[in-house]
Amino acid sequence: MQEMVEVFLLGKKYTVPAELTIMDAMEYAGYKLVRGCGCRSGFCGACAVVYRIKGTTEIKVCLSCQTKIEAGMCVGQIVSYPTNKRTFDIEEIKPTANIMGQLYPEIYSCIGCNACTKGCPQGLNVMQYIAYAQRGEYERCAHESFDCVGCNICASRCPAQITHSAVGLLARRLTGKYIAPECEHLELRVKEIEEGKWNVELKKLMDKPMDEIKDLYNHREIEK
């Protein structure tokens, strides 16, 4: 016999199997989710929920597709959180020390409460990557924020009203485009392609009889 638990979903009592995730428990209860459900694998950040265990004071936040339901959980959804992403032209901006401050001046209002880090379902050190951003250390900010899924739970908890996910994303784009070392072999191949070299080579291969192509495939050398 399946173990069942009593929970409160959007304020209403249901009895659901204990092995389900919060998301699955909502569906078991009869919800057909439109908002608050995305990849169902912890990559997209669509399914943030806020909960407390009945009778306790602490409010917790998590991704509902990645968290098991528990007895006494009182669950509310965060289906859309108003963030404040700034727009920029990636070709125009440069990874200068002050660019982050110009676009996201509120990062300097961080009071160090660490609520962002405590709330992160990915276990990221969010406050740390904001600190890197403040100091213009974009590459470190990029790596520290790399696993961010953009659920914006951190933003919902922040007294300084920072949109952390947008700060991390800017740092990563600056790193990917300007700070990471350039890739010579890629530039070389792109040049060859633009000169038309590989159109010719591909056509030669495609024009061969299928039996010969199959033979080439079956006997091709495989890099160790």
């Binding site: 199997p17 092995e19 389900l20 995730t21 428990a25 569906e27 078991y28 009869g30 057909k32 439109v34 908002r35 459900c37 995305g38 990849c39 694998s41 912890g42 990559f43 997209c44 669509a46 990645q66 968290t67 098991k68 992403k85 727009t87 920029f88 990636i90 990029a142 790399f146 696993d147 899924v149 953009g150 994303l169 990563r172 784009r173 600056l174 990917g176 485009k177 990471a180 070392p181 890739c183 010579e184 072999h185 890629l186 530039e187 191949r189 792109v190 392609i193 590989w198 080579e201 591909l202 056509k203 030669k204 291969l205 495609m206 192509i213 199959k214 495939y217 079956n218 091709r220 890099e223």
Partner: protein, 538 residues
Amino acid sequence: MYTQEMLDSIKNVERTRSERLHATLRRMEADEKDKLLQEYHPDYRTTGFKNILVGPNKGQKAPSELTDLLQAHSRLTGKHIDLEVVDYDVDVLIIGGGGAGSSAAIEADRAGAKVLQVTKLRMGDANTMMAEGGIQGADKENDSPAIHYLDALGGGHFSNRPELLSRLVHDGPLAIKWLSDLGVMFDKKPDGTMITTHGGGTSRKRMHAAADYSGAEIMRVVRDEVQNRGITTIDFAPAIELILDEEGKASGAVLMNFDTGEYSVVRAKTVIIATGGAGRLHYQGFPTSNHYGATADGLILGYRVGAELLYQDAIQYHPTGVAYPSQIFGALVTEKVRSLGAQLINRDGIAFMNPLETRDVAAASIIRECSTNKEGIPALDGGSAVWLDTPMIEDLHGEGTIEKGIPGMLRMYAKFGIDLRKQPILVYPTLHYQNGGLLIHPDGETTNVKNLFVAGEAVGGIHGKNRLMGNSLLDIIVFGRIAGKSAAARAKETKTGKLTLAHVEKFEKSLADAGVETDKVSPLLLPTYTHGRTPRKS
């Protein structure tokens, strides 16, 4: 976390690990693979498929669930939509908010077109976001687009459309460069050399990655770029029917507001379908690694206006879906785990195949091991599974490799009490990719509906009947960009005539004429899950 039976079997895996560690596992011969596929791959089962009775692919088979939706009623049947009242008037309408749609939007915008991008859920809610392993691109000295072509053609059983595949591989390095210039953080060595690995069926190490967040990293960058460009996007607005003009050109769509149920009309000079795959149709009852919204909507919309499908019966089962624990059942275990050296092991601790065979061969081999060979480990709901020996990775490449290379996997399992650095994981094939889809010319336009373009997983023919790892992230960028450019150029020379939905009635009539009786409506938009509870019907 594991059951006692599983723990006992893990002892066998550990016992044989050291002798397997540096062993070269045999690869299968061509005829051996063919036989295996025919006997064990789900595509070759006769049950699970139904013949299509109407439309351009009449007489061909498709998975039963897809056939049912292709032959279902329109959501607009019996409703009157006033097409004289146009809510959005644009050059290019893009349906889909994933990687292909966003790449198309960026290029169409760059070409000066007025773009509207609509999506069923939120921007970025797409299979792109979940692609973990990487993106192929022949940009290294020992590699070339021609070698890439050969790998993908063989992997696709020589059924790929040559004109589409050659475009894919030719533009591969250009796509990597485009993404890199937008700020995607590819894994690189300190000198800038791309860190690349093998995928199943590749003969060169050309898999570029951003840890195991490759798709997520690409998606969040292209989505950010769409926002930076000020392109108009509408979330929670699925297209439920395409609109044609009196000459039969694709000329817009009817959208449904997913929150309020209200309809709106988009008039567009050109339309791009970029709606992705179909995993959430759960063909043959398989679990899926796909996004919640992967319900083949674009195939339905396109087919109803007369666009032709190709290889709609060829489905990719990813060999390594999560088989345990239940909370993440069906989720993807990236192929990168095998790229890094983890082997597939049966209950007795034997490596029963080379882990880097193509996906269809690997899936069929696992199914054989668990069925006829009875060498699987009992998992959930009476099913069985095989081990993926993840601790090998650090034995081979050193401590820390897993945290650096596959942090997403490490985190996903850790949440449920499994440390994959210390214990192997249980896997079984999961429904992963729609190999087929709407047929296009190399410029992205469908072969038989003017001004209708398609990009991404909704396209059929690029990968033939089996796609290699890393070629789908590549295809959404390459063909997304192509569709965006082509649709913008075409819009400039297009005069849209009077809008019509007459094709919907015509399709209803063809269903009646073919004797199709159904109470289904399509596109499906979202699956319904109740996790074992049977709701009382009124």
